[in-house]
């Protein structure tokens, strides 16, 4: 029965979801631990490009699709390194106090060590006062564990 099924779509779906998920988690970790985002971003661009070049010569349809899909998400992760840096600078993503680059953002007062997305939606906008208080809450969230 399984021999009659077409698994190409399943593998493409897996490559898409794993590519997005690994980028989501990996970019946050890499940006939080890199003193300079340019070298890891260039490495990601190179890996993504290499995967896409391989896909041109891949022996099977599935391998060509999976390597290109994953490769394109890795290239996008390279772009995301810079976007993540900006998020940290603006306090939209937690800063790692042990990273000298992030420490400078924290000193400048624009960044935060709190993972602001680590809360359930309340259905009402967060007031400036609440946001300030929340940012000063002692860290007991996963972001702190990840970056320390």
């Amino acid at each position: 029965m399984f021999a009659e099924l077409q698994f190409a779509g399943f593998w493409m779906a897996a490559a898409t979801f794993v590519g997005i998920w690994s980028g989501h988690v990996g970019v946050r970790w890499l940006e939080a631990h890199s003193p300079n985002v340019l070298p890891p971003a260039l490495i990601l661009f190179a890996i993504g490009l290499a995967l896409n070049i391989y896909s041109l010569f891949a022996p099977t349809f599935v391998l060509a699709g999976v390597t290109s899909i994953y490769g394109i998400t890795v290239i996008w992760d390279g772009v995301e390194m810079f976007r993540q840096q900006r998020r940290v600078q603006h306090g939209h993503s937690p800063a790692n106090p042990n990273n000298p680059r992030h420490a400078a953002y924290l000193k400048a007062g624009t960044a935060t060590t709190t993972e602001l997305l680590d809360r359930d939606p309340q259905g009402v906008p967060v007031s400036e006062t609440d946001l300030e208080a929340y940012q000063k809450t002692p860290l007991k969230n996963k972001a702190e564990v990840n970056v320390s």
Partner: protein
Amino acid sequence: MTLVGIMLGLFTLVMIGFGFVWVIGVEYHFGYLWWPYPLVLGILFIILSLFVGNPGWSALLGIAGGVFVWGSTELRDQAVRAELGWFKFNSKPKPDPPGIRWIKRIKAPHL
């Protein structure tokens, strides 16, 4: 040499871009509690891709399914982003999704 892989990669990029747009729109107009519906739609696309004989159509369905599954995990975070003022907040009442009693019992997934 085959360009089919690159074409699928580019299709994925476009679908992810479209994913950002619909996640913002769905959260704004309907709310994050609708998250199971894109999740189920994505899973259905992936299941359907197994029964499509043509590998090209199967691949496109699989990619679309993967993006819908990811999008469903973004709705909760998008609701928080809107509440924090990073995106436009819709103060109008939002329609309850069918099965809201069960949906509220499950923690909305996020990456």
